[in-house]
Amino acid sequence: MSNILVAHEVTKQFGMNFALKDISLEIPKNSIYGILGPNGAGKTTLLRIINQITYPDSGHIILDGEELKPHHVAQIGYLPEERGLYKSMKVGEQVLYLARLKGLSRTEARRRLKYWFDRFEIGDWWNRKIQELSKGMAQKIQFIVTVLHEPKLLIFDEPFSGFDPINANIIKDEILQLKKKGTSIIFSTHRMESVEELCEYIALLNRAEKILDGRLSDIKKAFRNNSFKVVLESVESRELLKQLEEAFQISSPLYDIQEKVLGFTVYLPQANTSEFLSFLSTRANVSSFVETVPSANDIFIQAVQKMEVHG
């Protein structure tokens, strides 16, 4: 039972178009899992299937070892991409209503709301209407509603779109706190750089199909391209660059004659860094030597290209 959620060959069609084609995923417990892909890849459809808002044409979903059933909605917290609140309803009533729809009793909901309202220092909003609040304030309320019933699995669709940086950081911290307490978290976004640092696992979706999934660090290793960013100091002339270019594959060199700084990218097949570094040690001061790790974005582009080449 190490997976909170398993999707098995989930397929969904809208008319003639596939929204999801044989998608299988394994989302480990207590992890942060990113479902990444461009708009229209099928991410939201997949999340809606997990939330039983729509149903797959075939395939099935296992939540924490059980076949997904209507009563499981109480164990999932979902913050959809299209999110809002009743504009003319008071904050307090509204959060109570939404919490009770998730199955909390009135007293229990009140108790937990007090905790969260105190935590975000928004206790005095209770009797205000949503239309009087700013967008950032409403987002905090939405976050509270999503996590209030202490679900095992939290799902955020485009979590940071529309957040200002301060609120985004507050929410990010809260999510990490929840993860520490044992909650499993799914992020879904087309802005891959926004969640890269948070995700331990990712799955890449493109045009209704999964193109790859796994631990992010493994994927990055698999996609390393053996190139390194190098910065050298005290370089007296362009002579060194010429020597380097003769011995190695150098790209995008940049020489600042005033500061005597030379920067470039070097491609080292089989990553034989020792040969390169010993070559430099007698000729210049190395101020920086970093492997260029591909971003999720780069990986995605490469993976898609690979898919298309191999058909």
């Binding site: 008319g15 808002i53 729509t54 999932i76 959809p80 999110r83 809002g84 009743y86 939404l98 729809l101």
Partner: protein, 445 residues
Amino acid sequence: MDKLLLIIQREYLAKVRNKSFVIMTFLSPILIVGMIVLIAYLAKVNDSDKKLVAVLNESGYFQDDFRTGSRISFIPFKDLDLKSAKDSTEQMGFSGLLYIPSEVNLSNAAEQAVFFSENAPNSMVLGHLENVFQSGLRKERLQHLGVSDEQYESVNDLFEIRTSTYGGEMNLKGINELKAFFGGAFGYLIMMFIIIYGGFVMRSVIEEKTSRIIELIISSVKPFQLMLGKIIGTSLAGLTQFCIWIISASLLLIVVLLFFDIDTTLLGSTGGMAPESLSPMAPAAPDVDELQLYFDEVFRLPWLLLIVFFIIYFILGYLIYSSIYAAIGAAVDNETDTQQFIFPIILPLMLAIYVGFFSVFNNPHGPIAVGFSLFPLTSPIVMLMRLPGGIGATGVPIWQLIVSLLLLIVTFVGIVWLAAKIYRVGILMYGKKPSYKELYKWLKY
């Protein structure tokens, strides 16, 4: 089930607390009663506006025939020539001058008579004058034929045929219309309720879509639960409003009647909310005894039957239509896009009301009345217009009632199922307004 109750509660409170709803609830009875009082008052004022007609009669005929009545006063001019008579009529602001020249006989005098007025004359005044001439002429001709005055009077007696049922009870004239009128009032109520509160349901669905809360909610409850809760909650709010309206309007009306001492018979002909509430009585004003008979007849209507079936047809009809309204709300993004879809559902309602009033009034059990009372989209209204005649031999045949209800129930299940499907897909669709073809596609998602 708990969740459904929660949704119903929220929808009810959201509606009832809405400012415009509260204002409408308490303002409408005042407006309606105010309108009735205003109409009654205006009718009274209009009535007291007597027409003044000057008469210059140079002939020897029609001397006593132009008598001042409740609506026209005749002012006789004597020893004036026509020119000065015209002038003084104009100066005094009379409605007009009736001039009868001196002629050899009565019919010539009538033929040569002229009515002078500045503007085109009032048809009531003209009609009155014509009546006077006509009866004078008729009388004179009959006298030529040797008919005496007494004989002439007796000829004028109005005659009314007595009507009776086979059992020997008195059958009242116009009672069919009266019965259909009461059924029609129920039908009209259903139509108004559907249009007003169906619209509320639709707007409430649109609000959830535009405020983007819908997906948050249906990750907790089934879309069908939400739709049902919304329809029930809104209709409960509607019933509350209707009850407040009926109670406060009748209280207000009583207060106004007592306070202003307005002639109640006047209200009978001008009051009422429905434009169709033309008095269904026979044109000859019934005397008090006959009025009592009409009241008896109204009390003898099968009220229990009517109310039971009103409730059944009301619930089924409202659920059918409001689920269509909910589906429309789900299919569009804003209210302006709804027109194209609303028209087809208003159509059968209007048809039911008008066909009902025109054909059921004349013949409650004729083929058109039967057809429309079986067709499920019109039956809630039309069947209720037929039901005051009772069921069984003299009224609606039992089989028709059963078929009508069965069809309605089958349609109810079908329409709610279809509407729920469109609703389920529609609430998650943003952007463009769907075509009918796309709605059809949604059914298969």
